[in-house]
Amino acid sequence: MKSQSNTMRTTIAWLAWLIGAGLLVWGLFLPDTTLWRLILLTGLFLLSLVPRTYIAAWPQQEQRTLLRVSLVMSLAFLAVALQLVRGQFTYAGPIREQVLAYIQPSANERPDSATDVRLADREALGSGKVWPVKLEQPIRGSISDRSGTVLATDQNGKRLYLNGELAHIIGFDSRLYGKTGIEASYDYYLSGDYSISPSDLLRARLLGTQIPAPQAADLQLSLDMRIQQVAQEALGNRRGAVVVIEVQTGAIVAMVSYPRFDANQLILPPDASQADLEAVQAAYAQIIGNSESPLLNRAAQGRYPPGSVIKTFTAAAALDTGVMASPKAPITCPNRLRVEENTPLVRNSVENLSARTGNPSDLERVFAFSCNTAFAQIGLSLGANNLLEYAQRFGLGLVERPLEPMLREITTEAGTIANEASFLDRPAALADTAYGQGQALVTPLDMAQMVALIGNNGVMMRPYLVERVTAAGEILYQAQPEALRQSISPQAAQAMIEVLRRSVEIGYAKDIALPNISVGAKTGTAETPSGRPHAWFVALAPLEQPRYAIAVIIENGGEGSVSALPVAKRVLASAFGVTP
């Protein structure tokens, strides 16, 4: 009778054990922490019933207390183990996302990149690189332009920027504020770290041997300081940017952004006094506090509405898909166009534009005179899917799904055609986007790239700034032109060159014409919420064998043909050595 009740008890205990184990496994996947704690307590209690029946039947009575104590301790560690399984395995993802969402609110929308941003997010202070092995500090490498003009060098242990206007590109190497720009992205070479052999380092760490002094390498940029200087002077003290790209290679020849700052202000001398420190801090505070954001490299990071220059993209897409068969393909340019009920009519910036374009007109002429109603129709014929597809081919993504910036060497923003794909589902939005309103935001670099690929048989090249890295006459790195994709067919590119040429011959861009150099161009005037519109201008030259693509923006500069065009004209004239 007694043994029967014992068997009964044991069976019940084992059943409880099973239930407890099941509960715990279930609880491991529960999102609710409070519920999990309750389940953990209950589950562990149920699990404990089996060992307790055995302890109760233990022959040495005086040892039972000790066994019970060990049981409690074991359960306590089991609880820790289960908590760890939940925190590190079954429920680790949600915990990480919750923290990420708090640190970076947009992280939730981009689960793919969650793993990439993880370390950078947490590393606000930056543990940085630590070389506990004593290394001799070499003199930091110099940076020069493509013809060898030195732009940055070390003088008496202090970094000196001979052309203080290049801080957006070269960046700075400041003991107080870290490294930026090329100084940061090519630090591996400039600091000489590349010359430390991993096996030497390992040996030094293990055995304390000496490491040969690292050897710093020098950088040669793709910039042409001659053109860069002219571009800086031409832009003058107007907020804006100029980008000049070598069409065949993607080399950036000039990149100007205004307002700028002098990086020399942020450099501390090696034996800095308190006064030096305060001067640098004051300079930094002034740069940071400036409401015109001089730290922003407008050429690569400034995202602007494109205005009419985006018509170059729309026309290229239309020619490539066959929506427009040729530059002569007919299209109308009405004064008003109703795209959708209850939305504002599409209208041209000038009344009665068809007097200039002719009616019916063709692609060349509506492009030359920047006819909104014509490009609205082209956009509608292209359709949302085509427009999105070509935007991607031109390096323009969506805010909800941004593309990688093409330029990797300095901080760069990638342009976007719309905030989300569904925006383009509305015909009115599609039409607006096609002629330059809507949600698109692009950088001057994006627009220069757009024109450059037309001049390069439709192939988009990766833009780059560093031409080569050398040390003691030896070339350590040589930029290799990298074709990103065939964005449009060579035929469509050729047709687009004709369209751009006619834009200068008969259209708004005719003032860009240079002696002996054939130029193709497009003006743009981008509406802004307040103030005068932004002035845009893009151009390609010479059209027979395109060499340079240029994009100019002047913030609140008004008409593109009035303010931005002369800047481009001066830069191109000097690049080709002609007098306008």
Binding site: T33, T34, R37, L40, Q63, R64, T65, L66, L67, R68, V69, S70, M73, S74, A76, F77, L78, A79, V80, A81, Q83, L84, V85, G87, Q88, F89, Y91, A92, G93, I95, R96, Q98, V99, Y102, R118, L119, R122, E123, L125, G126, S127, G128, K129, V130, W131, P132, V133, L201, L202, A204, R205, L206, L207, G208
Partner: protein, 442 residues
């Protein structure tokens, strides 16, 4: 035949030798991994110290084998393994902490290596110097007095850090007296309870119709309550208060075998905590940031959220030594070293360490079970509980299983006092576990 018999002692502690070798493989494997992945320089001197540590451990093992007293074979390797994890992790955290917080963190790995070495020597001394266990009973009031003096001195001359006054500045080191107090308390309590074991059959007092336990059992309960409340209110040290409560209740239960005392003790402890809850912000903060860390993610909950994130990013296999960013958790080298290990070694690593302490607990209680008299049994159980309960409190606290109360992880956290006391505890456990020890050390 005779030779083999004479050399038989060599193989008598083969389990310990194997386990020690495993622990040292972990140590040097971990250090090698660190030098390969992280820019960590382990100086020749440090390597020499670690070599000495390994040597002393092996020598201790061989000497115990030669002496043939039959000590437990698992406890020493367990300490060696945990101390190895500590050295590896501090070598890894050192540069990061230095870069983050500056000069105060100079050479923490080196200092920890020294403490491990000193601890090992101390454990060896306790194992081999023929002291008598009887002394622990005989000088009970000396221990009690010493404990009281320590508490008083800390209250008046202690150094405050992180809101808790727990340190004594001895010039060359900051000494944490509660660590020693923990040991003294266990010794005194074991003596006291063993003396009053016989009273177990006596009747109860009745006051106003309420049945009270016999005075000798009431007294320690009151003492426990007073001591823990004092710790909480005056020293603001919740972790140690909780640890003392657990140790004292466990020992009381072992003697009386009555769950009623434990329940009363827990009720008293909770009542005490509840009583000071409204008046002392630090208790409230601990409770709230346990219940919901997201209540104040950038303030009170910051540390625990960082710790949970650290663990979560470790995942199943960890990010790898030197690959994570554990230093972003405040106190990553002391109280939160467990989550640092969790980030880089993953769930497998944390489970292994949890398993280590569990195994340690089991071995400690086995030593208690096999002890030759009631006093040694109580002492062994008390010492084991003190060590593993401390591990539990901080492991459960940093994983947000229970409210976080700052206390070191024995053998692993950075800190000399804790490391030395942990080695003293294992030394004493080994002595108690020696089944063939001669009478002159009893």
């Amino acid at each position: 035949m005779q030779t083999s018999r004479r050399l038989q002692w060599l193989t008598s502690r083969i389990v310990e030798l194997e386990l020690l070798t495993t622990a040292f493989l972990v140590l040097f494997g971990g250090l090698a991994a660190l030098t390969l992945t992280k820019s960590v320089l382990i100086s020749t001197f440090e390597l020499g110290m670690l070599g000495l540590f390994v040597l002393i451990m092996y020598l201790t093992s061989f000497a115990m084998a030669w002496r043939g007293w039959g000590e437990n074979q698992v406890i020493l390797p367990m300490a060696a393994l945990l101390a190895s994890c500590s050295v590896i992790m501090l070598q890894r955290l050192g540069p990061d902490l230095l870069a983050r917080y500056g000069e105060a963190y100079q050479q923490i790995a080196f200092k920890q290596t020294i403490w491990v070495l000193v601890g090992t020597v101390l454990a060896a001394l306790i194992i081999f110097v023929p002291w008598r266990i009887y002394w622990l009973r005989h000088y009970r009031y000396t221990w009690l007095l010493l404990g009281i003096v320590l508490v008083v001195v800390t209250i008046f001359f202690g150094v405050e850090r992180n809101g808790a006054r727990l340190w004594l500045n001895l010039g060359f080191l900051q000494f944490q007296p509660v660590e020693l107090l923990k040991l003294l308390l266990v010794i005194y309590f074991a003596t006291y309870l063993d003396d009053h074991r016989d009273l177990i059959g006596l009747g109860h007092y009745r006051i106003f119709g309420i049945s009270l336990p016999p005075l000798p059992y009431l007294l320690p309960l009151v003492l426990m309550w007073g001591l823990t409340m004092g710790l909480m209110i005056i020293q603001r040290d919740l972790g140690v208060a909780l640890l003392f409560a657990i140790v004292m209740l466990t020992m009381l239960y072992l003697v009386t075998a009555q769950i009623g005392y434990v329940v009363t003790g827990i009720v008293l402890f909770v009542l005490g905590a509840a009583l000071i809850y409204p008046y002392f912000g630090y208790v409230r903060i601990r409770f709230i940031s346990w219940y919901n860390p997201w209540f104040d993610p950038s303030g009170a909950g910051y540390q625990i959220i960082q710790a949970l994130y650290s663990l979560a990013s470790g995942g199943l296999f960890g990010l790898g030594l030197g690959q994570g960013n554990p230093a972003s958790v405040p106190e990553s080298h002391t109280d939160f070293i467990f989550t640092s290990l969790g980030e880089e070694l993953g769930l497998l690593g944390t489970l292994a360490i949890t398993g280590c302490y569990l195994l340690f607990a089991c071995q400690g209680y086995i030593v208690a079970l096999r002890a030759r008299d009631g006093f040694q049994q109580l002492l062994a159980a008390g010492l084991t509980t003190a060590l593993v309960a401390q591990a539990f409190i901080i492991m459960a606290g940093t994983t947000n299983l229970i409210p976080l109360t700052g206390i070191t992880l024995p053998f692993v956290s950075y800190g000399g006092s804790s490391m030395l006391m942990s080695f003293v505890i294992i030394g004493m456990l080994l002595r108690i576990s020696a089944s063939n020890k001669p009478a002159y050390v009893l």
